[in-house]
């Protein structure tokens, strides 16, 4: 079995994001970037499946500027065999990303495509589902447990009401939840080894996909700030404030 894992380079989850003064976006200069957290779970799961002998090859793919190579290298350092960087500038919307991934899937012919359930920058939660639609494959979104069977996967999904279990035949798309596994860290020797693993570069324009945004970003602003609160001295004061001042109990 062959697994394609899509990863995205985003502002690190620990960074306090700041809005640019001119309202055109958020500050990304000199800001720490990392792999989108649930994409780490996607890579980890693929590596675990390979370690169990049920997969032969893992290909990590990303779409973005030159620097996104780092994200692919990190995937290679934790166990992916090969990398692909599809070079594209500017905002690439999930629809365009899924069209690019469709081209990669047609070329690579994986049995499974894994990725995080949502990117923590645009919070869209679309790409996996869109790719599944374009390929006419089944989708298992928000996966917190995956059991690999002969020609299918049994996937436990986290939904609002609790959990749902579905079985999807391969080929299929899985979008991963943060609770799927505990991503490993790359060891130094593996980081060094990853530098020698093949990383192919393709231009998005060569794939014949129109990546022009369909959504115009008119402005980005800071959300309204909450007014500063107070500290109360004890529980009795808290309850009194909630009852008489805030009038919520």
């Amino acid at each position: 079995m062959k697994i394609l894992v899509a990863v995205k380079r985003v502002i690190d989850y620990n960074v306090q994001v700041r809005v640019k003064e001119d309202g055109t976006g958020v500050v990304t200069d000199n800001v720490k970037m990392s792999t989108n957290p649930p994409d780490d779970n996607a890579i980890e799961e693929a590596v675990k499946i390979k370690e169990s002998g049920k997969a032969k090859e893992i290909v990590a793919v990303t779409i973005g500027e030159e620097k996104s190579q780092e994200t692919v290298r990190k995937a290679l350092a934790v166990g992916a065999d090969r990398g692909i960087l599809v070079k594209a500038e500017g905002i690439i919307e999930p629809l365009a990303v899924s069209k690019i991934l469709q081209k990669i899937v047609e070329k690579e012919k994986p049995d499974l495509v894994f990725m995080g359930k949502q990117a923590i920058d645009d919070d869209c939660n679309q790409t996996g589902q869109m790719l599944a639609a374009l390929l006419n494959w089944p989708q298992a979104t928000f996966a917190s447990k995956i059991e690999v069977k002969e020609k299918s996967l049994e996937v436990t999904r986290e939904v609002d009401e609790g959990l749902e279990v579905i079985e999807v035949n391969t080929p299929s798309i899985v979008t991963c939840d943060l609770r799927l596994n505990e991503p490993r860290y790359a060891s130094l020797p593996n980081i060094m080894k990853a530098k020698k693993k093949p990383l192919e570069q393709i231009n998005a324009s060569d794939l014949g996909v129109d990546t022009k945004p369909r959504i115009e970003q008119i402005k980005v602003e800071e959300p309204p700030k909450r007014k500063a609160g107070i500290k109360v001295a004890n529980v009795a004061e808290l309850v009194q404030k909630l009852k008489n001042e805030a009038k919520v109990i």
Binding site: I11, Q16, V17, V26, P38, L95, A96, S98, Q118, I120, D121, D123, N125, Q126, Q129, M130, L131, A133, L134, P138, Q139, T141, F142, S144, E154, E158, V159, D160, E161, G162, E164, V165, I166, V168, N169, R179, P213, R214, I215, E216, I218, K219, V220, E221, E222, P223, R226, G229, I230, K231, V232, N234, V235, L238, V239, L242, K243, A246, V248, I249
Partner: protein
């Protein structure tokens, strides 16, 4: 221009967030039609037809729709989408799972999780875990929109009498099988719509200690939430998680207990009307969004809190 709203339901009842989505959809355009796809879901279609904002109901009923699989819903929706300018549903796990599949086949760049309708093509949506708000304009002819339910009031549920039209089935998708659903049944208010929410974090130290929270939730008729750390640690099930990758809640009162207040948690609760934080670390970021902060050991504070509440006789149900 008219709007097609996808109804989320349980085959028997309309799910509450559908009502919030209806409010948002009718702000886009008054000519609002709703599509109910389900199995033996006549009562759902009837309830939807009684919502005054809804002008017409399309009802597609077949056993293949029993478990709301997006692979089966999508062909029906894309077929009916032809007649509409906007396709709308709520941005919960139902809508998140379904809408992008629809949007991709309509070749539309979906606008996810809107919190405000500025005009029929322009919307406000949070990005970066709510640390920025983006005003975005869709240039696609047909627009697929998911709405953040807690940002819109629920629509009135009675007084209307829309026509119900039987719709045609689509194809059944063969390479997926639904196995089971493990719903957590509870008599408590739903987390997403509760007036009061009390949440526990890593500071609770164990699942057993959540009984301190449960006791207060019982007293206040509150829903119980949790931080991701508490769910990851196995203290409580995933359906309680509040935050960027969990649920977004906007109650009148949110009580965060033993929660440090990571950006990702704040994303799910900082729009709450009143926020209370109980934490022994006075420097915890949760205090920066709290209207009332209590720096205290939760194992002492929670029993006292319950005791104080017991002294009050005016708890609103």
């Amino acid at each position: 221009m008219s709007v097609l709203l996808i109804v989320e339901h349980s085959n028997k009842e309309v799910k509450p967030f559908t009502l919030n989505a209806i409010t948002a959809a009718s702000q886009i355009d008054q000519d609002l039609h709703a599509i109910v796809i389900g199995n033996k879901s006549e009562t759902v279609a009837k309830s939807i037809s009684e919502i005054p904002n809804v002008k017409k109901v399309i009802h597609v009923d077949n056993e293949i729709y029993e478990n709301y699989l997006p692979e089966n819903f999508t062909p029906v929706i894309t077929k009916y989408a032809e007649n509409y300018s906007h396709i709308v549903c709520s941005a919960n796990t139902f809508g998140k799972n379904l809408m992008p599949r629809v949007a991709a086949l309509l070749d539309t760049s979906q606008v996810s999780d809107i919190i405000k309708v500025i005009s029929p093509d322009t919307f406000l949506r949070p990005i970066y875990a709510g640390n920025a708000f983006a005003t975005v304009k869709s240039t696609d002819k047909k627009k697929c929109i998911t709405i953040r339910p807690t940002s819109f009031d629920p629509a009135a549920t009675s007084g209307g009498s829309a026509e119900i039209v039987k719709g045609e089935n689509g194809e059944s998708f063969s390479s997926i099988k639904f196995i089971k659903r493990e719903e957590v049944k509870s008599d408590r208010p739903e987390l997403g719509t509760a007036r009061i929410v009390i949440s526990g974090g890593r500071g609770m130290q164990s699942g057993d200690n959540f009984k301190l929270i449960t006791a207060i939730a019982d007293k206040l008729n509150a829903a119980i939430g949790a931080s991701r750390a508490a769910v990851d640690a196995g203290y409580i099930t995933n359906d309680h998680q509040v935050g960027q990758t969990g649920k977004v809640v906007v109650p009148d009162l949110y009580i965060a207990v033993g929660i440090s207040g990571a950006i990702q948690h704040l994303a799910g609760m900082k729009e709450s009307k009143i926020i209370v934080a109980i934490n022994k670390d006075g420097e915890a970021p949760i205090f920066s969004v709290a209207d009332y902060g209590l720096e205290a050991d939760l194992f002492e504070a929670l029993p006292q809190f319950l005791e104080e509440l017991n002294k009050l006789n005016t708890i609103q149900k």
